[in-house]
């Protein structure tokens, strides 16, 4: 066991700390309540009243120049042009989180499409899409799920036909977050109807202003973060908008899906939320008694703290396995989505319980604590327990790939 990163990294940590100090308390222009909620989700919080104001894309530029984001993405595509260094990434994440300095933009484009294009895209596609995406000028949405293709995603039916050098697309997607703000969609489309279901899918890039696209909002239970349904009626895009070859879309999509799952429950964010909860329990009272002084509440808090500490230590072990080849972490990575999302849901739920009636207040109500973020995040994480591969699907993956248990036998269609 050696928990030191070494002198080089401690110097790097000092640089990051200095940067965080300089930018502590920055806020974003035209901040809305939605952004406060997204800060609650990732456990950060930009100060609301601040003299240092930047736009999100200016902040993005500052972070790229320092190499704090887009670190390993080549300069020619708009990245920092450094080497992948997961210890540095960890230090950046930890120090930003401690200082509550907001990180870079996330979203489907940056988190999923950029790594996909780097692996599978043509040179033209890399040149055209990566830079504006990294800089927050091109927002993407993901067109994967369909009403009849949820957990069984590969049964998707949105159809793409190549006609006169163009893909003509018809069908429907669902659970499409940010569709209404997006310039582009990366979409899974069935282009080879005769092929087996996994090899008949292609990965196609669709400008959202193409005629024939209709977006209908699909409001979720938080009434805040919005999904959409997206309908395609003879939507026509050029043939070169396909990424990789015809029929390779399933492999393309799967190569980055694991990345999304891991990122759904960042242990730094969970630790920050635990600290927020602890402080709240020291401040709020019932009959003049602090919440943390009530033994049953305190015991539940300690239980959650134990789980958070376990997942923090686990993330260090995973980090170690990435820099020490040969270190066996068995199921280490596979469990992250399942364990992380359930833990956040439990933590936010505890905050609601200790607040009692106050915990049910929402939106702009008087007496709201922490902007109502506990209620919002509690519900939002139920969405994450279901989304990104339901936690039941995660258990299938863990038992089949992790524990080597057999797959469920195929059932022939009941008549």
């Amino acid at each position: 066991m050696d928990l030191n990163y070494g002198a080089e990294y401690e110097d790097f940590r000092k640089d990051v700390q200095a940067f965080c100090k300089e930018y502590q308390g920055i806020s974003f222009k035209s901040e809305s309540n939605d952004n406060n909620m997204s800060d609650a989700l990732n456990g950060s919080s930009a100060a609301k009243k601040s003299k240092k104001e930047v736009t999100r894309s200016e902040w993005q530029q500052i972070l790229i120049e320092k190499g704090y984001i887009a670190r390993a993405i080549p300069k020619e595509y708009g990245g920092y042009g450094g080497e992948t260094d997961i210890i540095k990434s960890r230090i950046i994440a930890t120090e930003f989180s401690k200082a509550k300095v907001p990180g870079g933009m996330g979203g489907q484009g940056i988190d999923m499409l950029v790594p996909t294009l780097l692996e599978w895209g043509s040179e033209e596609q890399k040149q055209k899409y990566i830079r504006p995406t990294l800089h927050g000028e091109m927002i993407w949405c993901q067109g994967y799920s369909e009403p009849n293709a949820g957990s069984d995603l590969a049964s998707l039916q949105t159809k793409g036909e190549l006609i006169d050098g163009n893909w003509v697309i018809n069908g429907q997607k669902i659970w499409t977050s940010t569709a209404q703000y997006s310039q582009m969609m990366f979409c899974l489309v069935r282009t080879e109807p005769q092929a087996p279901k996994h090899s008949g899918i292609s990965f196609i890039l669709i400008p959202m202003d193409t005629p024939g696209i209709e977006i209908r909002p699909l409001v979720d239970m938080t009434l805040k973060a919005g999904f959409n349904e997206v309908f395609f009626d003879d939507v026509t895009v050029p043939e070169e908008n396909i990424v990789a070859k015809r029929g390779e879309g399933w492999s393309v999509a799967n190569s980055v899906l694991g990345h999304e799952r891991g990122s759904l429950a960042d242990p730094n964010a969970t630790m920050n939320r635990l600290n927020t909860l602890i402080n709240m329990m020291k401040e709020q009272t019932i009959d003049g008694r602090r919440l943390i002084d009530i033994p049953s509440y305190r015991d539940r808090l300690m239980q959650v703290q134990g789980k958070v500490m376990a997942s923090q230590a686990h993330s260090l072990r995973l980090l170690s396995s990435k820099i020490n080849p040969g270190q066996n972490v068995k199921l280490g990575g596979m469990i992250q989505k399942l364990v992380g999302t359930e833990l956040r849901h439990e933590l936010e739920g505890l905050a609601i319980d200790v607040l009692g009636e106050i915990g049910t207040l929402y939106e702009d109500s008087p007496y709201l604590k922490e902007d109502g973020s506990f209620q919002f995040t509690y519900m939002y994480f139920l969405g994450l327990i279901i989304g990104g591969g339901t936690n039941q699907i995660q258990k299938n993956i863990i038992s089949e790939r992790g524990l080597g248990m057999p797959k469920e036998p195929k059932v022939t269609e009941a008549s």
Binding site: M309, S320, S321, G402, P406, P409
Partner: protein, 364 residues
């Protein structure tokens, strides 16, 4: 940066696991648990001592291996996975740590080498220091100990007992002292011994540093808790392996039951809750020696959290085995009971979580 057991520590653990796998099947465990074969019990005990598990935590200057607690954790995981029916947490972890931290130079020079040679064996009774039941407890005055110590561990063949009063003063008593009455208690876990001591005017040999520094008793307690957590983790790992392999073989409805999602999901839940416990345990052991500010909280949380996960595993793994899991024939219950005893020793989860809150100044 490396987070995990070192190659040496893994190797040590593998030796322990291999020894138990080769020599202690369920039949042997049953014989020992029922007290039917004392020669066998001694043979297993000395086999494990030959691996050097007694010398791990004794400093090199006293002839030991001078290892850190993480190495002892590696061994304890191995012992738990095979429900090793021998003394460890008290005799070879808490006792050497207590003597080394609180003993005089003379006491260290006398007892530590005897732990290495295994000439002198220590039982340990700190239950009353943690939480006294049945009005037990020991008074210490003018060098004499009076009172009752319950739930003394590793004491079957002990030459001395390491005890504490409520204030955390640690002391040794000679098992041959005429004032000691020893009664065996029977717990569900028959793989380890459990004693009651009644003391009348027994000469107490105080470990002097513990009188001036009450933190030492807590340190000894932390070590014991981490080791019981490690034992439960090893036992849980083993129960999951058994459940998974049973589910891959047992057939019902013309399918192996491991192909049913109801069964698979139980296995996935056990595995995914247990997995982060490895890192939590190792970090707590590492902090015990190297990060004093974090150590107490991590020891408390590791013991309580791992006890909770292990309890869940012991239940679900038994259920996966169906009716067979409930039988003595299969013997899965030895692991179930081992986890059950570990959970309560040196404080159950609720008591320890209260202590964790106190350490952080939460309950004013």
């Amino acid at each position: 940066m490396f987070f995990g057991l070192s190659e040496e520590q893994e190797q040590f653990q593998d030796y322990v696991k291999k020894f138990l796998a080769d020599n202690v099947t369920v039949n042997e465990i049953r014989k020992i648990a029922n007290g039917e074969d004392e020669a066998l019990a001694k043979e297993i005990y000395s086999g494990l001592i030959n691996l050097g598990i007694n010398a791990l935590l004794v400093p090199e200057e006293h002839g030991g291996l001078g290892a850190d607690l993480l190495s002892a954790v590696a061994v304890a995981q191995g012992l738990g996975s095979g429900v090793g029916p021998i003394p460890f947490a008290g005799a070879y972890v808490m006792a050497p740590i207590a003597i080394n931290l609180a003993g005089s130079d003379e006491q260290k020079g006398k007892y530590l080498p005897q732990i290495v040679s295994n000439e002198t064996k220590f039982g340990v009774g700190l239950s009353e220091y943690v939480a006294a039941r049945e009005d037990a407890g020991i008074d210490l005055s003018a060098g004499k100990a009076n009172g009752k110590a319950l739930f003394v561990i590793d004491g079957d063949e002990a030459d001395y007992f390491l005890l504490a009063n409520k204030g955390g003063v640690l002391f040794l008593v000679d098992a041959k002292d005429k004032g000691i009455e020893i009664t065996k208690l029977t717990s569900v876990d028959k793989t380890r011994s459990y004693l009651e001591l009644n003391l009348k005017n027994v000469s107490a040999e105080i470990l002097p540093e513990s009188e001036s520094n009450p933190e030492i008793a807590k340190k000894v307690l932390d070590a014991g808790r981490i080791i019981f957590a490690a034992d439960s983790l090893g036992a849980s790992e083993s129960m999951i392996e058994k459940a998974v392999s049973y589910a891959k073989e047992r057939k019902q409805f013309n399918r192996v039951i491991g192909s049913f999602q109801a069964v698979k999901h139980m296995c996935a839940e056990m595995a995914s809750d247990l997995e982060p416990c490895y890192a939590m345990l190792w970090q707590a052991a590492h902090s015990f020696d190297h990060e004093p500010d974090e150590a107490r909280l991590q020891a408390c949380q590791a013991k309580s959290h791992i006890s909770e996960v292990a309890k869940m595993v012991s239940k679900k793994a038994t259920e996966v085995h169906g009716g067979m899991g409930f039988t003595d024939l299969l013997g899965l219950h030895y692991w179930f009971k081992r986890i059950g005893l570990n959970r309560q020793l040196l404080g159950g989860p609720e008591l320890i979580r209260e202590e964790a809150a106190e350490i952080q100044g939460f309950n004013q």
